[in-house]
Symmetry: C2
Subunit: 158 residues, 2 copies
DNA sequence: CTTTTAGTTCTATTTTTGCAGAACTATAAG
DNA sequence: CTTATAGTTCTGCAAAAATAGAACTAAAAG
């Protein structure tokens, strides 16, 4: 069902995802991304990851609420089959970066409160928030550049 | 010593920093960034943030070990005076972004294991790791662009 | 040598997080 | 109506994280 390599990747990717969700949810998401099987039932997830019913249920519902996964049903079968929702993942990735850059706003606010704007502290704060907001402005340009390049790559394939 | 606005910023910035360190350490760092006072002794930090000696000591040493803060001493005074080490902060920020992009390597590894490389799952994985590594390549260019712009800004000031 | 000071380390609590497993619910099938 | 299935929710526990405060240490001052 899962090779050793796949298991390792689930763990490693899971660690990245744990920033922002519980270990169980992180591994469920990693499983749906890594595996070759294109959908998993509740109990399959439960057994593969050796989780309890509650951990599985909570993890799945957490991921559903964030639109990171979705499910479909088969007629004459009560089970739900869960899959990764890759369509939103790029958006989520972009949002993740956006969030980090929210810190620049707090740094700008801090700067405004500074009595001595010429201190090293204030100067560096300006530099840092400057870099952050510069990056923030540049990112959409990068994304466009990539999309263009990516579209051409796809065309070539055909 | 600390205005209401400063206290709020310490809490808010602290929340960002808590990803990666204990709440106490996060607030100590935020304090050193936000305050107008340019250095703080152990006991000043302790009292302002209402921390225990151990929490203060551990927090300070953690931040020192990561080079996020530094200290100086005054002759005829045994205390250490701690300050934010802004010089490294930009480096730390860049490293933080680097780390996130490490996920792209794991996604590439995942892709290699995929039996069906034409599945939506595999395609999106390729797209995602592609975006990530593209961004990774573009970042140094952005940094240079910013540095150039920033240097000109500084020259104008003079 | 004794005392003071600044800070560290150790021990014990408290708080938080995460999960297991049982009890429960809702729905559909028979 | 009864039973089976799929999943949720509740209760409780265990491990980990974070902190408090006391005991301790190192070094300088007197």
């Amino acid at each position: 069902m899962l090779s050793q390599k796949q298991k390792e990747l689930i763990e490693q990717i899971g660690i990245y995802f744990e920033q922002g969700m519980q270990p169980a949810a992180a591994r469920i998401l990693a499983l749906l991304i890594v595996s070759d099987q294109n959908s998993f039932s509740f109990d399959e997830i439960r057994e593969l990851l050796k989780l309890s019913k509650s951990a599985t249920s909570n993890g799945i519902n957490f991921l559903l609420s964030l639109n990171k996964i979705e499910y479909f049903t088969k007629s004459g079968d009560r089970k739900r089959y869960f899959t990764w929702n890759p369509a939103n993942t790029i958006t989520h990735f972009k949002e993740g970066i956006e969030k980090v850059l929210g810190l620049s706003i707090l740094f700008e606010k801090t700067l405004k409160l500074k009595e001595d704007k010429d201190s090293l502290n204030a100067q560096k704060l300006l530099e840092l928030s400057g870099l952050m907001s510069f990056l923030h402005k540049e990112l959409p340009i990068i994304y466009k550049k990539w999309e263009k390049q990516y579209r051409q790559l796809k065309l070539k394939e055909k």
